[in-house]
């Protein structure tokens, strides 16, 4: 079941018109199973390293309901731990971000301090202080035995911090495979830097957001994309490429930004990126890297319930940007992707409507994933590929999800 795929596989419901059953978006039991079989098992992309630039900087987050803290150590290495005190199960680090050199009321600076009983942990996850340990525990407890649980953690693919709750997870390089080859030069030639972060909590299923990021047929919803892309040369030649383990990519075209009133050409870019180019990498089970000329957007999803998802949006440029270049990248990014941007609001309305029509308790529906256009931009190969991986990991057919398949891994 956990063995990775060597070749991409497309989901085929066995019908001439591939579809998924809407209960994969609404059923409580399936959602709980997804958390266990997918979200707790595989690599997930989280924060960017530039969010923790200094030793002792930290970020907190939740993965599959589990609290996690990411810390840059005094040795400059980024590590991740379960953010739960082994003493009484309390959350240890509570702020979204900060630096451990700032003292907390319950404890000294430089450590992660549980405010409840002042147990302290250093940036390596080691327990360094238990108040009145000898008096309370005599010789029955050793600090060495209660370190914070370290999680598999790697900084990769543009300086993002990748985590897994699964201690036996396969190497990250095997999981992502060649999916990042299309964007490797842009991401890894020089350091990136974050300039934008915001989040949205939407009453919809996490997969519906990833579906939106995995198909471009919905460009009919975006006047901006119709004017600057769909009406332009090269749009219908953009190709999807499927990769093992549910990932896919979308090839570039030259976007004509000036075709939208008030928008301008984007002279800034990334190393190796064609001027005004546009590339995407969609990653199973719910993240997307999206470069449009001057800015990189990375979406990450946190499933909260079958009909509730948090989506975090990050915008990045090059670390070496001049103030003028950075301001331009930010303007370009916000035109379409900020919370007041032209496209994002529309995309979020799209999945909100799906969340209404396919909320828990609604009647099962067939949701079509059947566009075949030689893997070009309006082909729905991205979604079919995602659901092939979903089926493999869940042991359920997306078109008949209430029945467990006899062989979980095919």
């Amino acid at each position: 079941m956990s063995e990775l795929r060597k070749e991409p596989v497309l989901y085929d419901s066995g019908q001439s018109m591939p579809y998924v059953d809407s209960r994969i978006y609404s059923d409580e039991g399936i959602f709980a199973e997804e958390i266990e079989k997918i979200w707790k098992k595989i690599w997930l992309v989280t924060v960017h390293e530039s969010e923790l630039p200094e030793p002792l900087d930290f970020r907190t987050l939740t993965i599959a309901r589990e609290p996690v803290v990411i810390v840059r150590g005094t040795d400059n290495k980024i590590r991740a731990f379960r953010n739960v005190c082994p003493h009484r199960g309390n959350l240890i680090v509570r702020k979204p971000a900060g630096n451990l050199s700032v003292a907390e009321p319950s404890g000294n600076a430089n450590y992660m301090t549980c405010m409840f009983h002042a147990w302290q942990y250093d940036c390596f996850g080691r327990c360094v202080d238990i108040p009145r340990m000898k008096q309370g525990y005599q010789d029955r407890l050793r600090k060495e035995d209660i370190s914070l649980e370290a999680l598999p953690c790697e900084v990769k693919h543009g300086g993002f911090v990748w985590l897994s709750l699964n201690k036996n997870v396969e190497p990250l390089a095997e999981f992502t495979g060649e999916a990042f080859d299309i964007m490797k030069v842009e991401l890894d030639t020089e350091p990136l830097d974050i300039f934008h972060y915001h989040k949205a909590i939407i009453p919809s299923n996490y997969k519906l957001w990833h579906d939106t990021n995995s198909e471009f047929y919905h460009d009919y919803m975006h006047y901006f994309n119709r004017a600057t892309s769909m009406m332009q040369k090269g749009y219908f030649e953009r190709q999807y490429t499927a990769f093992p383990n549910g990932h896919c990519t979308v090839g570039s075209m030259e976007v004509k930004y000036e075709a939208y009133q008030g928008a301008k050409e984007r002279p800034l870019s990334f190393p190796g990126m064609p001027r005004n180019g546009w590339k995407m990498v969609d990653l199973f089970p719910g993240a997307t890297y999206n470069i449009r000329g001057s800015s990189l957007r990375v979406d990450t999803t946190t499933p909260i319930g079958p009909n509730l998802v948090m989506i975090e949006f990050r915008g990045l440029g090059l670390k070496r940007d001049t103030p003028e270049e950075r301001a331009q990248r930010i303007r370009d990014h916000n035109t379409i992707w900020g919370p007041f941007g032209r496209n994002l609001h529309e995309d979020l309305l799209g999945i909100t409507g799906q969340g209404v029509a396919m909320r828990p308790g609604t009647e099962p529906r067939q949701v079509l994933h059947g566009r075949h256009e030689n893997n070009s931009i309006h082909d729905e190969i991205g979604m079919r590929h995602f659901y092939a991986e979903w089926q493999r990991r869940m042991g359920r057919s997306p078109s008949d999800p209430m029945r467990e398949l006899s062989l979980a891994a095919e």
Binding site: P96, H196, H198, I201, P339, G341
Partner: protein
């Protein structure tokens, strides 16, 4: 009119301009709102992210850019929620020259839904959308104060669906 009287009337004119701007924005009369703004007007929406520990600019336009963005609104899908502001001008400061002024206004912005989520259930419901402050700059002319700068500084950072409309 004495100096203090002039200052008081100018401060009152600034307050009136801010409230008039709120009324235009509430009614979706964006072109009328722009008539309160000078040709060199600049508009931005900013906030601070404790997550990435950086100041962020979420929207930035000059008068011309805003005007074009407003013209394009009918071509874009939206949730048609009505945004209503409740503003209180906390402070008006006249520059020593007397020709310019700045003002700080606290505001809340509510969204009354039409087709935001499920119209059958939610249409007519009002939700708090965001809170923040307006930091405005004005220049006095023959017809009173004109906005030369507005920075909408948001406290609210989770805007969920967001919006296409100026705040």
């Amino acid at each position: 009119m004495g100096m203090n009287e002039t200052a008081a009337s100018r401060a009152e004119a600034v307050r009136n301009a801010i409230y008039r701007a709120c009324l235009f924005l509430d009614d979706g009369k964006f072109k009328e709102w722009l008539t309160l703004c000078a040709a060199d007007f600049s508009y931005r929406i900013k906030t601070y992210s404790p997550e990435i520990r950086k100041e962020m600019t979420w929207y930035e336009q000059d008068w011309s850019g805003l005007s074009k963005a407003i013209e394009m609104l009918p071509l874009h899908n939206t949730d048609h929620g009505r945004l209503t502001r409740h503003a209180t001008v906390y402070e008006v400061s006249l520059d020593p020259s007397g020709s310019e002024a700045s003002a700080t206004t606290s505001f809340v912005c509510y969204r009354t839904m039409l087709d935001g989520i499920n119209a059958h259930l939610d249409a007519g419901e009002t939700q708090l959308f965001l809170i923040g402050k307006y930091h405005d700059r004005f220049r006095f002319g023959a017809e009173g104060p004109l906005f030369t700068e507005r920075t909408v500084y948001l406290d609210t950072r989770r805007l969920d669906k967001g919006t296409h409309y100026p705040i």
